[in-house]
């Protein structure tokens, strides 16, 4: 287990200890049941999503990752990544393994920041299923219009951060 993974475990155990002391047994048991339910819900998704990501990585030509989305691709790469991110289906179990594959193939970190941001803010899947159903079409439109420029801004901000702190780009 990596140090960051151990850190997450330490935080989880500490928070659970706090919950047990402050609120007693019943909420702690609810939290455990909740954890189990989430785990059961996620497992089948992960089982199909991880192979999807690695298969997709085989299909992506390396010159796309290094060229159109590469470290030197600048604003054009950020725009392409934004378009790709907003079309990505599914949850984090698809997006993050995919980004890992792209980064390993030579894509630029700032472009991947734009891709994750676009998927988060503009992801059609989430907008259609949740936002329109719960908040209505008009609000969904307002929210999407307000967020439309943000993924590109996130990519540009990331480029600036990389210039200031090259260590973040590894």
């Amino acid at each position: 287990m990596s140090p960051t993974q151990m850190l997450v475990w330490a935080m989880a155990v500490a928070a659970f200890g706090l919950l047990l002391r402050r609120r007693g047994l019943a909420p702690a048991r609810r939290a455990l049941r909740d954890t189990g339910a989430s785990l059961l819900r996620l497992l089948p998704m992960i089982a199909v999503a991880l192979p999807l990501a690695t298969l997709f990585a085989e299909l992506v030509p390396p010159d796309v990752a290094q060229g159109a989305l590469g470290r030197e691709s600048g604003l054009a790469g950020i725009l392409i990544a934004t378009a790709a991110g907003s079309l990505l289906p599914g949850g984090p179990f698809v997006t993050f393994p995919l980004v890992l594959a792209f980064l390993a193939a030579g894509a630029g970190p700032a472009q991947m920041v734009a891709l994750i941001s676009a998927w988060s803010v503009l992801g059609l899947h989430r907008i259609l299923v949740w936002e329109i159903a719960i908040l209505g079409r008009r609000f969904a439109l307002l929210r999407v219009a307000s967020g439309a420029a943000l993924p590109v801004l996130a990519g540009l901000l990331a480029e600036a951060l990389l210039l200031a702190f090259p260590a973040l780009g590894r």
Partner: protein
Amino acid sequence: MRRLLARHATFAVMSCLTLAAAVAVALLKGEAALRRALSGALDLAAFIFPVLGAGLLLAATMRQLLPEGALSRWLGAESGLRGLLLASLAGIVTPGGPIAAFPLVLVLLRAGADRGAVVAFILSWALNGFQRILIWEIPLLGLEFSALRFLACLPLAVAGGLIARRMPASWQPEAR
């Protein structure tokens, strides 16, 4: 019922996509590439599983620790830049996926949050919700990349809220 349908639809679509991708890799890149992709997926699984339980436990515990209504109290009557900053902060600490977050938006609206604050909350949760960062981003993409993305996205939820307030649209929270 709608949730159930949505979840299974996603799973079905993903399964079909995975199958199609497997066929495409086998036909275009050969059997060796297919085997490489599948063993790569196993490596990823071995990487994710040790921390998945911890991340989910942390999120479930936070849900029990945060008192009902605490988030909406922060935002209720707020407006101005402070309301947007608080809304962004609330988005980051809101655990869970869309099932948990969107009903919370309704609570915010009923408590009187303005549309800028609501948009900032949704954007902040979507961009920087701590659960996704802990379970997926840090384990898979590493601390450096996660920090880069978190910092780059941090000011954007507030920016989105400011834009929402200036949008020439007649949507009012009270309307629903």
